[in-house]
C-alpha cells in the first residue's frame, strides 16, 4: 500500500514514516552523507512515530554514500532512550555494505540489530521483534 506523502517525514538524508504493518521505515536518500545532525534529526523523527508502544525499524541504507564516526556512534542507540525494539538495515551495494558493517562491528548496537541484503527478509526478521519490550 502506498504511504501518503503527508505522513512521510522528509529530512536532509532520510525519508521516515510508519508502515501499515507497524514497522517504521527510514529510507536513506541517494548519495546521502550522514553527519551527526542528520542522525539526531532522524532519531527524533523515528521517536515521533511512537504512539504508546515500541516498534521495530527498517533502515534502507542501500544508497548511502558515507556516515561520520559521530553519526555511527549516535545511531548505535547506546546510552540514550529509544522507542524502537530492534532494527534491520538493508544494504545492496558494496559501499553500503562496508559502511553499515563498520557501524555494526565497531559500535555494538544496544537493541537487536541485523544486516540484510533484501527488504523481504529484513521485514520478516523485524516481525519477530514487534512485541519485544526490551
Amino acid at each position: 500500500m502506498e504511504i501518503m506523502d503527508t505522513h512521510k517525514i522528509e529530512l536532509r538524508c532520510y525519508t521516515t514514516y510508519m508502515g501499515e504493518d507497524g514497522i517504521a521505515r527510514s529510507i536513506v536518500k541517494p548519495n546521502a552523507e550522514i553527519e551527526l545532525d542528520d542522525a539526531i534529526a532522524n532519531s527524533k523523527a523515528v521517536n515521533s512515530l511512537f504512539q504508546g508502544e515500541k516498534f521495530p525499524l527498517l533502515i534502507d541504507s542501500s544508497k548511502i554514500k558515507s556516515m561520520s564516526k559521530e553519526a555511527r556512534k549516535y545511531l548505535s542507540v547506546n546510552n540514550r532512550s529509544t522507542h524502537i525494539t530492534s532494527f534491520a538495515v538493508v544494504v545492496k551495494s558494496s559501499l553500503s555494505t562496508i559502511i553499515v558493517n563498520f557501524f555494526f562491528q565497531l559500535q555494538k548496537p544496544s537493541v537487536p540489530a541485523k544486516l540484510f541484503t533484501n527488504e523481504k527478509d529484513a521485514l520478516s526478521w523485524l516481525q519477530k521483534h514487534k512485541n519485544n519490550k526490551n
Binding site: V91, T97, I99, F102, F104, Q105, K108, A113, K114
Partner: protein
C-alpha cells in the same frame, strides 16, 4: 542483547566494472587507486587529514575508500583515547609521588621535634620506606613505560638516595647492576624496593658500630628466570638464625612479609666479619 554473532557481515562482489580498453576510464581507475594508496600511506604515518576520495566512477574503489576513511577515523579516535589515558596515568603517578613526599616531610618534621631518639629513629625508618615507594612513582612518571621500571636504574637511584639520606662518609654504598636491561612491574618493584631499603637501613644503623669505615654492597644477578638481589656488608654481624625466623622486629617482619608477597625467598648468613642477605625471586 546483540545479534552480532549472526551472519551479519555480507560478502562483497569483487568484479570491477571498468572497460580497460577505454583509456579515460583506465586513467581514472589508476588515479583513484593511487589516491587510495596515498591515503593508506598517510594512515601509516598517522596523518589523519588525508582522506581517500569517493569519485563515483567505480563502486568497488569507492567502497575501499570509504572503508579506509572509516578505519582512519576509528584509529584516530583510539589514539586520542590512548594518549588521554597515558596522561591520566602519568598524572596519577605524579600525584602519588607528591603525596608520599608530603607524608615523608611530615615524618621528618615530627622526628625533628621529638626529644626521644628511639621515636625519631622509628620515624626516620618510616620516612625511608615511604621514599623508596615514592621513587618508583617518580621514575614511572618520568619514563615512557607507565607500568614497568628498569631495575638497574631504580636500584642505582635508591642506593644513591639512601647514601645521601644517611650522609655518613665513612660508609660506602656500592651497587652492581645486571649486564642487560630488565624491566619489572611496579607491583613487584615496590616490595623489592622496600626490602632493599630495609636491609640497607639495617646495615647503616647496626652493622658498623665501633668501626672506622664500612662497605655496603648491593648486587643484582639473573640466571634464566631467577633474579637474585644480594646485600653484603662488612659489619659486625648478628644472630642470623633469628633473622631467618619470623621476628618481632618490624623491619625484618616487613622483609619476610614482603618476600612472601612476591613469592620469593630469603637467605641470611652473618658472622663477625659481615652479613650477607640474598633475596631470590622467580620472574
Amino acid at each position: 542483547m546483540h545479534y552480532l554473532g549472526y551472519k551479519n557481515t555480507r560478502t562483497i562482489r569483487t568484479e570491477m566494472s571498468i572497460d580497460t580498453s577505454n583509456s579515460e576510464q583506465l586513467s581514472n581507475f589508476n588515479d583513484q587507486v593511487k589516491n587510495i594508496l596515498d591515503s593508506v600511506l598517510a594512515l601509516a604515518q598517522l596523518n589523519f587529514e588525508q582522506k581517500a576520495d569517493l569519485r563515483g566512477n567505480c563502486e568497488q574503489l569507492d567502497s575501499l575508500s570509504a572503508g579506509i576513511n572509516m578505519l582512519g577515523e576509528e584509529l584516530r579516535s583510539k589514539i586520542v583515547e590512548l594518549n588521554e589515558r597515558e596522561m591520566l596515568i602519568k598524572e596519577v603517578h605524579h600525584r602519588v609521588k607528591n603525596n608520599l613526599q608530603i607524608v615523608s616531610s611530615i615524618l621528618n618534621l615530627q622526628s625533628n621535634v621529638t626529644d626521644d631518639e628511639r621515636i625519631a629513629s622509628k620515624l626516620k625508618d618510616c620516612q625511608e620506606r615511604i621514599a623508596s615507594m615514592a621513587l618508583v612513582h617518580e621514575q614511572l612518571y618520568n619514563s615512557n613505560n607507565l607500568s614497568e621500571l628498569e631495575i638497574n636504574e631504580y636500584f642505582g637511584s635508591l642506593c644513591l638516595r639512601m647514601q645521601n639520606s644517611f650522609h655518613q662518609d665513612k660508609i660506602d654504598v656500592r651497587f652492581n647492576g645486571l649486564d642487560t636491561s630488565l624491566f619489572i612491574s611496579s607491583d613487584i618493584l615496590i616490595p623489592i624496593g622496600l626490602i632493599a631499603s630495609e636491609l640497607i637501613m639495617n646495615s647503616y644503623k647496626h652493622a658498623f658500630h665501633q668501626k672506622e669505615a664500612g662497605k655496603i654492597h648491593v648486587e643484582l644477578n639473573k640466571i634464566d628466570t631467577q633474579l637474585t638481589v644480594a646485600f653484603h656488608d662488612n659489619g659486625i654481624g648478628f644472630n642470623s638464625q633469628k633473622a631467618n625466623e619470623q621476628t618481632s622486629s618490624l623491619g625484618l617482619a616487613l622483609v619476610h612479609s614482603l618476600t612472601e608477597q612476591i613469592n620469593g625467598s630469603i637467605e641470611v648468613t652473618s658472622n663477625s666479619t659481615g652479613t650477607s642477605i640474598q633475596l631470590f625471586l622467580k620472574l
